[in-house]
């Protein structure tokens, strides 16, 4: 019974959110729309990062690289064929791909799959090793991806980037992707595989003794994470309307690191909260800075960078003094929410009492 009630509440919430997305799409200005869209894209990528870093305990810093793959697939294949010669004016596009056009949804999925494939190639050697090497290998990879993109002129247009990507600013479109990915990851985490991931995070030796193939499951989590980061990156590219290698500096990954640390490593709802707070916070911090292009994604190389100083101090303060973040490994549940609504003041005390 309780389950049914919760399911109904969740469905109502999703419908409510979709109605909100509809409202935002038609009734607000383009700035709000952009922030809301960015927020959802950040949530997708934050969720994907939490899957490896938070749930499986494997510290990956490759999100910017996987995003780049997704964004470039969208960039390369969704620009109308007729416009391509103008975009690739310096060196014509490789004839093998010059005539291939994909609708956005297909390009997103292809980008996700390609990112997952690349994750497999990196993961195979690296995931067998000591955990923290993964951080360096993935950070390095996300820079190498940029090098490759910059050099593969006839495919990616090199340092010039790809312009004229049909712009995506339908809030509802991105909302549907976000909701589906959110539901998928929630369901995955609550399945037997999700428990296996968490077991690996808690104790690799015990997990192995319980018959969990470490490498296989780490690789699986890493590839699923890359897949969604690829899709998120594709949406991000479509949102920008233009992609260039500088959009995907490794420092972009730190945004998502902040999201999952703030929301709680190992909490899905935490990542959603974190994504909203970080996106909104980055917008708010703009007060401390001169206006930036590209929604403040790129490091403000030629501007006073006070905003990013605050950002990095926040990250450190957070991990030093509040490392479990808002949710820790807990999740938002309706039961707790209802308990909270009935007795907002007693809520925290009661929980403490139960623990003791």
């Amino acid at each position: 019974m309780a389950n049914k009630k919760n399911l109904i509440l969740t469905i109502l919430l999703l419908i409510g959110c979709f109605a909100l997305a509809w409202y935002v799409n038609f009734e607000t200005d383009s700035y709000i729309r952009r922030v809301v869209n960015l927020c959802m894209v950040y949530a997708i990528i934050g969720l994907s990062m939490n899957l490896t870093n938070g749930f499986t305990g494997q510290f990956s810093l490759g999100q910017a690289g996987f995003m780049a793959i997704g964004a470039y697939v969208v960039g390369i294949f969704t620009v109308p064929v007729a416009l391509r010669p103008a975009v690739f004016y310096a060196a014509p596009m490789n004839p093998l791909i010059a005539d291939i056009y994909m609708p956005l949804w297909l390009a997103l999925i292809v980008g996700g799959l390609l990112a997952a494939l690349v994750a497999f190639l990196i993961g195979t050697p690296v995931l067998r090793l000591r955990g923290d090497y993964l951080a360096v290998a993935t950070l390095g990879f996300s820079e190498i991806i940029r090098i490759v993109i910059t050099n593969a002129q006839t495919i990616t247009n090199g340092a010039l980037g790809i312009k004229d990507i049909p712009p995506l600013n339908d809030v509802r479109y991105i909302f549907v992707f976000t909701a589906v990915i959110f539901i998928f990851i929630t369901a995955l985490i609550n399945s037997s595989y999700g428990r296996a991931f968490k077991a690996i995070r808690e104790d690799e030796i015990a997990a192995e003794a319980m018959g969990i193939d470490l490498f296989k499951h780490k690789c699986l989590a890493f590839m699923i994470s890359a897949f969604f980061a690829g899709i998120g990156g594709g949406l991000y590219g479509a949102l920008l309307g233009t992609v260039d290698p500088k959009n995907f500096l490794f420092t972009l990954t730190y945004n998502f690191l902040l999201i999952i640390v703030l929301g709680g490593m190992g909490s899905i709802t935490g990542s959603m909260i974190g994504a909203v707070l970080v996106t909104a916070g980055l917008e708010f911090l703009r007060v401390f800075d001169e206006p930036l292009d590209l929604f403040g994604m790129a490091i403000p190389l030629f501007r006073p960078g006070f905003r990013m100083v605050i950002f990095s101090v926040l990250l450190m303060v957070l991990v030093l003094f509040w490392r479990h973040g808002i949710m820790g490994t807990r999740e938002f549940t309706w039961d707790k929410f209802i308990a909270f609504c009935k007795n907002p003041f007693g809520f925290f005390g009661r929980k403490g009492a139960r623990k003791a």
């Binding site: 360096v136 490794f250 420092t251 030629f302 450190m316 991990v319 490392r323």
Partner: protein
């Protein structure tokens, strides 16, 4: 085949030139890699901020010489002291409070420290590339047997070797060195034996940062552009150098540094068409070496206690 052809097509003089470049780059990598390997050996953590310490040292030198007009030799002493302090301060504020926290928290704190240094440098010194002060004595070109090289390229390996000798002496033959080895062998037992762990860790960070500062000065003279992200790629590569040499092993870090430095220069020399992918070389070497020898070239096999 192409490889041999490339070698045959190269004159002895230009080959010597590339070797000198490779050895000096390798030495620079070695200097920075030692800092990574020592910290990892003791705390089992990647000091992500180490590359950014190198970057800060470059800015210190710039401000000492170009802005405050202090003679370069005095500035270098000041840079070394300031950098050592910076390293110790980072350890105290960002890592020490998390000594008993999960490993990933320390890693995040290290990333935070690194990102903070990068953003601070960007904020304080602007993102525009600055030029490392020119020191005529060290940056002049000299000709040896028809090969033109910068004086600094010859100084770098010599300084590196000197530092290495001193460092190995400290680690192997002094009391503090013994404490360091004890802490890296078994943290808990060392603590029980009455070794002041915090001191040992601070000194380790100081030594690592001093080497980073010396490396940074030489780096700046050799490659004079200073930017806030200058330390990132060398930092990653030097950590990789430490890993392929066998993490925790000082000689291994030096060996790894030379493999990467020489390899990078020679690849570009023989295959100019690959020069765009130069930064990828280190990662490929990492994957290949770890595939065959997961503990690195000189690393010992360690088994986790179950």
């Amino acid at each position: 085949m192409e490889f041999f052809q490339a070698i045959f097509n190269m004159s002895a003089a230009s080959f010597a030139q590339h070797m000198v470049n490779g050895i000096s780059l390798g030495s620079l990598y070695a200097m920075i890699a030692i800092g990574y390997t020592m910290v990892y050996g003791i705390l089992l953590m990647i000091n992500f901020a180490h590359g950014d310490i190198v970057m800060m040292a470059c800015y210190f030198a710039f401000f000492g010489i170009t802005v405050f007009q202090i003679p370069w030799y005095l500035t270098f002493v000041g840079v070394i002291i300031a950098t050592a302090l910076l390293g110790v301060v980072i350890e105290r504020t960002a890592y020490r409070p998390l000594r008993d926290a999960p490993k990933n928290s320390v890693l995040i704190s290290a990333i935070g420290a690194s990102f903070l240094l990068e953003n601070l440098a960007n904020y304080l010194f602007s993102g525009r590339p600055l030029r490392f002060p020119n020191i005529e004595l060290l940056s002049q070109n000299i000709a040896i047997a028809g090969v033109q090289v910068q004086a600094i390229s010859l100084v770098i390996p010599v300084v590196t070797m000197l530092c290495l000798v001193v460092l190995l002496h400290i680690v192997n033959h002094t009391k503090i060195g013994m404490s360091m080895r004890a802490v890296s062998k078994d943290y808990e037992i060392a603590r029980v034996m009455g070794i002041n762990i915090d001191n040992v860790i601070s000194i380790t960070f100081a030594i690592g940062s001093i080497l980073a500062a010396i490396g940074a000065i030489m780096w700046g003279i050799r490659y004079p552009g200073i930017t806030p992200l200058l330390g990132v790629m060398p930092g990653l590569k030097c950590f990789i150098a430490a890993v392929i040499g066998g993490i925790g092993n000082i000689k291994g870090a030096v060996l790894g540094g030379f493999i990467l430095g020489l390899g990078e220069i020679l690849i570009v020399a023989f295959f100019p068409q690959l020069s765009g992918y130069r930064d990828a070389f280190a990662f490929i070497v990492l994957i290949i070496i770890l595939f065959y020898k997961p503990t690195g070239l000189l690393g010992e096999k360690t088994t986790e206690k179950v």
